[in-house]
Amino acid sequence: MKTKINVNGTMKTFEVKPDEYLLDTLKNSGYVSVRRGCDTTSCGVCTVLLDGNPIASCSYLSCRADEHSVTTVEGIPEDAALIADFFGHEGADQCGYCNPSMALTLYAMKRELKNPSDDEIRTYLVGNLCRCSGYVAQHRAIRAYLEVE
């Protein structure tokens, strides 16, 4: 079935199967930054923004995204670069596999929460698992990113 999705500001038409997930549609179309981690919607690595809100693309049917906008990390280059600077300063980027999804979730959080507490930040990001960093360096970097106007 034909599905029209605005990906990173460009309207695109995808031929998708009724049971196809957004992760596969995007990956198969060359958006390699959207990655698979777990198969059970547990890890957050496949996060993209749907109309600005983070979703797990591994369990979101592509046809549901018809006439919606999807943002991958390629769609937020300035913020991704800025977040990368803060992560880099803390040594928090580590293997980097989940970092595009981290950048997207952070980007959405910054727009959704005003002056979040430490606990609110952790709750917002709890679905973005990281096995490398131990989280506290990420948290320091996130705090610094949130301070940028």
Binding site: F87, G96, C98, R131, Y135
Partner: protein
């Protein structure tokens, strides 16, 4: 130092954050055949027949492989140097399956759906065999897991498959029985450590293609690209010279990607079909069909005098290697060799035991590599001994632990699968680490516990730990530096970046030696055609071994630049110097850019390339002291982590931010093993924790507070004083948390993980006694 011991962002972090392709599957050929594996539903069975006709006839299926398609060549997937200290007890595909998830057959098809359909069309007839599922019953069990005649050890490792023994070992210093008899106080305790899953975010993946020279090119998410090339060649009987292994960016490994998994099958499919192919493990396959940590039982005796002098350590270990013996001996030995030298003043030590096969998912390399298991047993037992002696646990450790300038006889006796290497601790700031750790956690105010207003109890606990820096006389790293026109450099290393930051810190080491900005050193790593050899990223070897190789290479390049500069200036080499931007002598100067342009375009033309290697002659241990503060709810048994203070001696930190996060990340994996994570099987051998909902790794909600500091330390044999730091962080949490729990509620958990159920049962039992 200008570029070493300085925080710099990693060389690849920003690009990866911005979504640039870099990981194995990002780089797979777009037309790759999809390789999928039919896996065993039984923990132990003989395959009587596989009917693959229907699958082969399915439109879009290119290839179906069973054990009949491979020559029977026993091998190990361990991903170690050669000859391996692991038994050759595995075949690419075999007519026996030895754990649920073991490979039965593989299909290669045009797309995912067709591959799935083909798997469903395979008809397999099994003779289901009775499995061995409890490792304490495996030794000399009537059920033999590896009866096949071809399997063998590469050199003596105590391999006795007829008794279900993958490896065995025994060592003695002094006469421990005699020592223990003479001790005032002896404790005898058993400890159990569980399996642990790596849960790297990127599942195992590999892809293959034939290039324009007709060579087999493998991209693999591996920690050991050179071992992958060798083992593929040996096992497939395909010339080494026709294989190129490229390790792109890796989405986490922690030891789990030291071993080979998908590489054999994509290589076989591509060689048979001539077409590119790829395999991406499902998360279930990562859990069931790769490796986890060796579960172990420790029976430990400690003997001490009334004055708190530790005199003897006697340890018997039983380790469970699962269905195959990958890393069986070496993980087992590290549980002794990188644990018991901590208490080096004892009269005698005995350490020995067996590694047995079971029909569970195989065990393999995992950060800590035996040391975390041994550390939990020893450091728990030390606190128990202190209580019996009535001595403060910190005073006891200060009195008995290893210090700078000292040694332990264990270093000379125990290596990894072989004899060890004697060494003195030229850098060991353990005393400082303990002292500073007590300050950071507030030990004197908080020890042993404090009852809070809501009835919860806060307490502190601690443990000390050591690890290593590579395997002496075995691990080899090498580097090549090429000067380019305009005066920048390529640094080619075999060392494997897997997210730990090795590309970044090796670049910093090269920049420091050359005196140039790190931006002028372009690093490229882990490509078997283009980079020099390196054994790979394991055994905490990269900073120390590969780092030393890079330093030597950069020093040599510096000399070559001075020599060529002197020639250009017409001055004696002895009076010429290079300051990182210009070569100067007696008031004359030529910039590096001018010199290199001269070398490549105008006069005395030649390419400057420096190559050097390094093999460690010892393995200087990083040390640390870990202090934890927890809050225990005595009504539920739940433990909450309040703070973790870690003070680490890894010599010089090449990049303090990356070193710190290596420790923080290690701590959280250790905390996971201590209180959250468990690999659980059903009574029929099925893995219950085969997805990320059932297998729980720590989230950012539990880990809110950690303080990591580094001791001011310098290891003379390390590059700019550095030791390795990749593993040490993981070792202390299980014992430190177990000790803190005991300090809180008087319950001693001797079987990991420390779950609320166990804690509450302990509290209830204690109340019943009262």
């Amino acid at each position: 130092m200008k570029y070493v011991n300085k925080i710099r962002p990693s060389v690849d972090g920003k690009g990866l954050m911005m979504g640039k392709p870099g990981y194995t599957d990002d780089l797979a050929d777009i037309n790759s055949l999809i390789v999928k594996v039919l896996r065993s539903p039984y923990p132990y069975a003989k395959i009587l027949k596989i009917n693959k006709e229907k699958a082969e006839k399915l439109d879009g299926v290119e290839c179906v492989l069973t054990h009949k398609d491979f020559k029977r060549i026993p091998m190990t997937r361990a991903g170690q140097g050669y000859p391996e200290p692991s038994p050759h007890d595995k075949f690419i595909l075999d007519d026996h399956v030895r754990h649920i998830g073991d490979e039965v057959a593989a299909v290669a098809a045009a797309d995912n759906e067709t591959a799935d359909k083909a798997l469903a069309l395979l008809e397999v007839e099994y003779e289901v065999l009775e499995p061995v599922l409890n490792y304490e019953n495996a030794y000399e069990n009537k059920i033999i897991i590896h009866p096949e005649p071809e399997i063998h050890e590469m050199f003596p490792i105590g391999f006795e498959p007829k008794k279900n023994v993958a490896a065995a070992y025994m060592m003695n210093v002094g006469d421990v029985s005699k020592t223990l008899k003479e001790c005032d106080v002896v404790i005898e305790e058993s400890f159990y450590t569980q399996a642990q899953a790596h849960v790297m975010m990127e599942p195992h993946t590999a892809n293959a293609r034939i290039d324009f020279q007709g060579r087999l090119v493998i991209y693999s998410s591996t920690q050991t690209p050179f071992h992958v090339r060798r083992i593929l060649s040996q096992t497939m009987e395909y010339p080494l010279s026709k294989i190129r292994v490229i390790k792109p960016r890796i989405g986490g490994g922690y030891g789990g990607k030291q071993c080979l998994h998908g590489e054999f099958l994509v290589a076989a499919v591509t060689l048979r079909t001539g077409k590119p192919s790829k395999i991406v493990y499902t998360r279930k396959e990562v859990f069931e069909s790769t490796f986890s940590r060796h579960p172990m039982r420790f029976d430990i005796k400690l003997g001490a005098m009334k004055d708190g002098t530790l005199k003897g350590i006697d340890v018997e270990v039983l380790s469970d290697t699962g269905a195959y013996g990958e890393h069986a001996l070496t993980v087992f030995m590290v549980a002794g060799s990188k644990v018991f030298p901590l208490y080096n003043k004892v009269d005698s030590v005995r350490f020995g035991g067996k590694v047995v096969y079971t029909n569970h998912t195989p065990a393999g390399a995992f950060r800590g590599y035996g040391a975390i298991q041994g550390n939990y047993a020893l450091e728990s037992a030390v606190d128990m001994l202190c209580e019996k002696l009535g001595i403060d646990p910190i005073e006891f450790r200060n009195k008995n632990m290893i210090k700078e300038g000292e040694t332990s006889p264990i270093f000379a006796i125990m290596g990894e699968g072989t004899e060890g290497t004697a060494m003195n601790m030229e850098s060991c700031k353990l005393e400082y680490c303990v002292k500073r750790g007590t300050e950071l956690i507030g030990w004197n105010e908080k020890y042993p516990k404090k009852v809070m207003a809501d009835g919860k109890i806060r307490s502190v606990g601690m443990a000390i730990a050591m690890q290593g820096s590579g395997i002496p006389y075995i691990d080899m790293g090498s580097a090549m530096i090429k000067l380019n026109d305009d005066g920048f450099f390529n640094l080619m290393v075999g060392a494997t970046e897997l997210g730990q930051g090795s590309d970044t810190i090796l670049g910093q080491i090269a920049a420091e030696s050359l005196g140039v900005d790190p931006d002028k050193v372009i690093i490229y790593s882990s490509d078997s055609d283009l980079t020099p050899f390196d054994t790979g990223a394991y055994a905490s070897s990269t900073t120390y071994v590969s780092g030393n190789a890079v330093k030597r290479t950069a020093d040599k390049m510096r000399e070559m630049i001075i020599e060529e500069g002197a020639k250009a200036l017409g001055t004696p080499v002895s009076e010429t110097d290079f300051d990182g931007s210009s070569i100067k002598s007696n008031g004359k100067k030529i910039t590096l850019s001018e010199l290199s342009n001269r070398l490549y375009y105008s006069e005395d033309q030649k390419q400057l390339v420096a190559v050097e290697s390094y093999v460690g002659t010892k393995s200087p241990p990083p040390f640390m002291a870990g202090f934890v503060e927890i809050e225990v709810d005595p009504g539920t048994g739940k433990i909450e982590l309040i703070d973790y203070a870690a003070v680490v001696d890894c010599g010089t930190t090449i990049n303090p931010a990356l070193a710190r996060v290596q420790v923080e990340g290690g701590l959280v994996q250790g905390i996971g093993m201590a209180i959250y994570e468990d690999v659980v099987y059903s009574s029929s051998g099925g893995l219950i924790t085969n997805n990320m909902m059932n297998y729980r790794i720590p989230t950012r909600k539990e880990i809110t507070n950690m303080h990591v500091e580094f001791a001011d330390s310098f290891e003379p044999s390390g590059p700019y004083g550095a030791k390795s730091v990749g593993e040490i962080g993981i070792d202390t949490p299980p014992a430190a948390i177990a000790n803190a729990l005991y300090n809180a509620v008087g319950v001693r958990i001797q079987e990991l993980p420390i779950t609320p159920e166990k804690v509450l049962m302990g509290i209830i039992k204690q109340k019943d006694k009262e």
